[in-house]
Structure formats: structure tokens, C-alpha cells
């Protein structure tokens, strides 16, 4: 269980005109159940990524509290792993060595490390590419490697920061399907940042809609679509269409109120 309670974050910028303050998040409260898939959607610059980094423990927050299973977050922990928008694969390491990276930091012995990394590469369909370097792979394949690296440490919470934002449309749909399959098999809590309404609804149990800066929670919506979700069926479901339209209106309203 992930509880985000009245979290606020203000960045201090020291520029030419002295220190300026940038309020990124204001009073954000979200409660996420175990093994739930939650999408967070909002306009660019609404602090979605900041919120994710705060939950990961990378960024300190200055108001409120983050609790995971009742314990306060004070830094990164083995119960969470991030999948990054730009993949963040180390270019000097092969795909296998990139997946092993997360395991090295957990002090796993070498053979166990390699075996685990290979296992997860197989699960994301990259078994034949372990000796390739990231730049030799397509964007979609690089993100599969990023996903394998995160899954390999066996976190209970997967934090995904617009993970499919930099791949082409077809690959994106394919990755979404694969992610749902993996999520059903691996039984993880997923917090998924996106700015695609279609993606948010297709994947999630609930969608959190955020306002422009400073990011607040505008609405939290249930996604009443059955699982497993078959893409063509789901996307033609009137409930899917209604919900994406509703989110679009909600985002528009939030933007209008902002100006």
C-alpha cells in the first residue's frame, strides 16, 4: 500500500535575479492499493515526474508524508524500482550487463546475477539480444531492457515515468499489452505516469488526473473495464470512449481554471 498524504514540493532556483521559488506539487493525496495499477495523467510540467521521484525517494519533499506499508519513505529502497522515459541504459554496458547493474548494487554473487538477469531478459523477450549494446537496439527493445532491469530486483512497486513516451505508436501498443501481461503474472503495484489518455485508461485500474503547475489532484477515476483487456475490444467499448472523453474534459477544465 502506497499512501501519498498531502505532499507538497517547492523547488528553489538560484538564478541571476536571486532565488526564485517554483511550486511543483501542492497538497497531493493518493492512496494506492497493493497490486493496483494506477495511471497518473496531467499536462506537461504538472509535477508528475517529480511526484514519481518523491515516491521513489530520489527527491526530498517539503510537506506531507509518503508511507509504504505504513513506513515513511526517506530514500530509495529495494521495494521500488523505476522504469525511465529515456531508458537510462548505460551505453558502455551490454543489455545483459545493464540488467545485472541493478543486481550488482544489491551485492548478488556473479553467477546468480547473470542467471537472474537472463531470466528477466527472457520474460521481456530479449533473450537473443543479451550481448548487444543499447544503441544497437530499437527504442522499444531498449525499454524492454529497462523494464527487465527494474523487474530483476523483484520490487513490489514498479514506478514508470512515461516509459513508452519515446517509442513509435505501434511499438507503444505492443509494449502496453506486454506490460499488462507481465503485471498480471508478476503481481506488482504499478504507478504509471503518462500524458496519453488512451494509455492511462487502457492500462489502469484507476486514473489520477492532475492540474497544471502547481500539480494538484483534480480527480481520481475508476476504470470500469474488465480484465484481461483485449486492445481492440477495450478501445471500442463505450465505457472506454466515455472515460477518455471525460478525462479530456477534466484536463481542459483544469487548464482553463489555471489561466
Amino acid at each position: 500500500m502506497v499512501e501519498v498524504q498531502r505532499v507538497s514540493k517547492t523547488f528553489q532556483r538560484i538564478g541571476k535575479n536571486g532565488a526564485t521559488e517554483l511550486k511543483a506539487l501542492s497538497d497531493v493525496t493518493i492512496s494506492i492499493r497493493e497490486k493496483e495499477f494506477v495511471s497518473i495523467i496531467g499536462p506537461s510540467g504538472c509535477g508528475k515526474t517529480t511526484l514519481l521521484k518523491i515516491i521513489d525517494g530520489l527527491t526530498p519533499y517539503d510537506g506531507g508524508e509518503i508511507l509504504i506499508n505504513g513506513k515513511k519513505v526517506t530514500g530509495p529502497g529495494p521495494d521500488r524500482a523505476v522504469v525511465f522515459q529515456t531508458f537510462a541504459l548505460l551505453p558502455w554496458r551490454t543489455v545483459l550487463a545493464n540488467v545485472e547493474f541493478s543486481l550488482e548494487l544489491r551485492q548478488l554473487p556473479r553467477e546468480q546475477r547473470t542467471a537472474t538477469a537472463r531470466d528477466y531478459l527472457k520474460r521481456v523477450g530479449l533473450a537473443d539480444f543479451e550481448n548487444h549494446y543499447p544503441h544497437e537496439l530499437s527504442g522499444g527493445m531498449q525499454q524492454r531492457a529497462g523494464l527487465a532491469r527494474a523487474l530483476a530486483v523483484n520490487p513490489s512497486i514498479l514506478l514508470m515515468d512515461e516509459p513508452f513516451g519515446s517509442v513509435d505508436a505501434q511499438t507503444r501498443q505492443l509494449l502496453q499489452e506486454e506490460l499488462l501481461e507481465l503485471w498480471q503474472r508478476e503481481q506488482k503495484t504499478v504507478i504509471f505516469i503518462t500524458h496519453s489518455m488512451d494509455e492511462a485508461v487502457y492500462l489502469a485500474d484507476r486514473v489520477v488526473v492532475m492540474t497544471p503547475r502547481p500539480g494538484r489532484v483534480a480527480e481520481i477515476l475508476d476504470v470500469p473495464l474488465p480484465r484481461p483487456r483485449i486492445p481492440d475490444v477495450v478501445r471500442r467499448d463505450p465505457k472506454f470512449v466515455d472515460l477518455t472523453n471525460y478525462i479530456w474534459d477534466s484536463l481542459k477544465k483544469a487548464m482553463e481554471n489555471h489561466h
Binding site: L58, P76, G77, F84, A88, P91, W92, L105, R106
Partner: protein
């Protein structure tokens, strides 16, 4: 690659022929024909003089360069990682980076005397600053997302440094080391010409003042060859350490 090599061979052959012809036509000691230079080179090689001096020069070069790499990388890393260190030192490093190092030779003689220490110090000074600046720049330019990723997976400061920052900065560091090597060769010849007439630099001064142009050219060509081999060695190390970067650049 093959075409490239044959053009290189053609280029050298053309120069050699022109040189030989020009030398014979002009018939002066100022431009000796290439064949004379070759026989002077053989003579110096046979009587052991060239090798003896070359070994001496190379040893000094290696010592000064090694120190410059070790200290240069350490200082560069500290400057790149810690703002206060950078602000404390960058003024001097930038000033000395482009200052003519020969100006410091008299000072070095006073500090270290006329022995090998002074020559090592000259080599060091020639190579050091460019390595510092390149290392610092490389460390500063490491993509933040890599550092963030490592922290997110629980990396501690030292792990972030050795597993992410250092390998990411390695191409820039090696670029500095490579330029530093070129400068180090200049440093050793300068030191041997200006300080005590030893090594290959000393041979240049000796043959130059004796108008032994054939031997002089033989030494100069030897220095060019040494410089080329030294650069090649750096390139081999560079390939081993940062081959991944070269492959990305090709695409």
C-alpha cells in the same frame, strides 16, 4: 581502410622521392638527400648512440606523463564533482592551460636542479593541465539521468562514481590523455634542449650546432616516429576503454 593505407604509402613515397631529388639538385648541407639521412640514421643506430639517448628520453617521458595522468585525472575528477574545488582551482588551471610552459623552465631549474627531476617536471607541466580540464569537463557532462538511475537502484556515492560517472566520463578523459601525450613529447624534447643536453633533445642541439644536418634530420625523424607510436599506444588503450563510444559515433 586498405585504400587509406595505400594513399598513405603513396604520400610518403612521393615526399621521399621529392626530398631525394631536391637534396641532390641543391647540393647543400641545409637539405641533405634522404639517402644521406638514412645512412646517418643507420650509423647512429649501429654505434648505439641513438638507442641510448632514446631510452633515456623515453624513461623521462614515461615518468612525467604517468604522473600527469594520475594527478590530472584525480584533480580533474575532484573539480568536476565538487563545485568549491572547481571554483578554487579553475582560475589557475585555465591560466596555465594556455601559458607557454617553457617560461617555467628557469624556475624548475632553481627548484629541482639540472637533473632528471627537472625534465620530468617539464613533461608533467606540458601534459598535466589539458588532462585536468578534459577530465573535469567529462565528469561534469555525465548525463544526470544515469546518476539518478544508479541512486534509484540503491547505489552509494562510491558506486555511483565508479560504476557510472567514471565510465561515462572516460571518452573525455582519454581525449585529454591523448592530447596530453602529444604535449608530453613536446615537453621532453624542450626539456632536453633547454635544460641539460641529454636524450634525443640533446642530440638535436648537438648536431644542429655542428651543422650535421643529416644526423639532425635522422633524430628529428626518430622523434616523429616516437610521437606516432606514443599516440598509437594511447589510441589502443582508448579503444579498449571506450570502444562503445566509437561505435555509437559511427552510426
Amino acid at each position: 581502410m586498405k585504400a587509406r593505407i595505400s594513399v598513405n604509402v603513396l604520400s610518403i613515397a612521393t615526399l621521399a622521392v621529392l626530398w631525394e631529388v631536391a637534396g641532390r639538385l641543391m647540393d647543400t648541407t641545409l637539405i641533405p638527400p634522404l639517402s644521406n639521412i638514412a645512412s646517418a640514421w643507420l650509423r647512429l643506430l649501429m654505434n648505439g648512440k641513438l638507442l641510448e639517448n632514446l631510452v633515456m628520453s623515453l624513461w623521462t617521458l614515461a615518468a612525467g606523463f604517468f604522473l600527469a595522468v594520475i594527478l590530472g585525472v584525480i584533480i580533474g575528477v575532484l573539480m568536476g564533482r565538487f563545485r568549491p574545488v572547481e571554483h578554487f582551482l579553475d582560475l589557475y588551471i585555465n591560466a596555465l592551460m594556455s601559458a607557454p610552459m617553457t617560461a617555467f623552465v628557469p624556475l624548475l631549474i632553481m627548484w629541482f636542479g639540472l637533473g632528471v627531476e627537472s625534465r620530468i617536471a617539464v613533461v608533467f607541466l606540458f601534459a598535466f593541465f589539458v588532462i585536468v580540464i578534459n577530465t573535469m569537463t567529462g565528469v561534469k557532462q555525465v548525463d544526470r539521468i544515469f546518476v539518478e538511475m544508479a541512486r534509484s537502484f540503491g547505489a552509494k556515492e562510491l558506486e555511483v562514481f565508479f560504476k557510472v560517472v567514471l565510465p561515462a566520463a572516460m571518452p573525455a578523459i582519454m581525449a585529454g590523455v591523448s592530447i596530453g601525450m602529444g604535449r608530453a613529447v613536446k615537453g621532453i624534447v624542450t626539456a632536453e634542449m633547454l635544460l641539460t643536453l641529454t636524450g634525443i633533445g640533446g642530440m638535436i642541439m648537438q648536431y644542429g650546432s655542428a651543422f650535421a644536418t643529416d644526423a639532425l634530420f635522422a633524430v628529428i625523424l626518430t622523434i616523429l616516429m616516437v610521437a606516432m607510436i606514443a599516440m598509437k599506444l594511447v589510441k589502443i588503450v582508448d579503444r579498449r576503454l571506450t570502444g562503445w563510444k566509437a561505435e555509437i559515433a559511427i552510426e
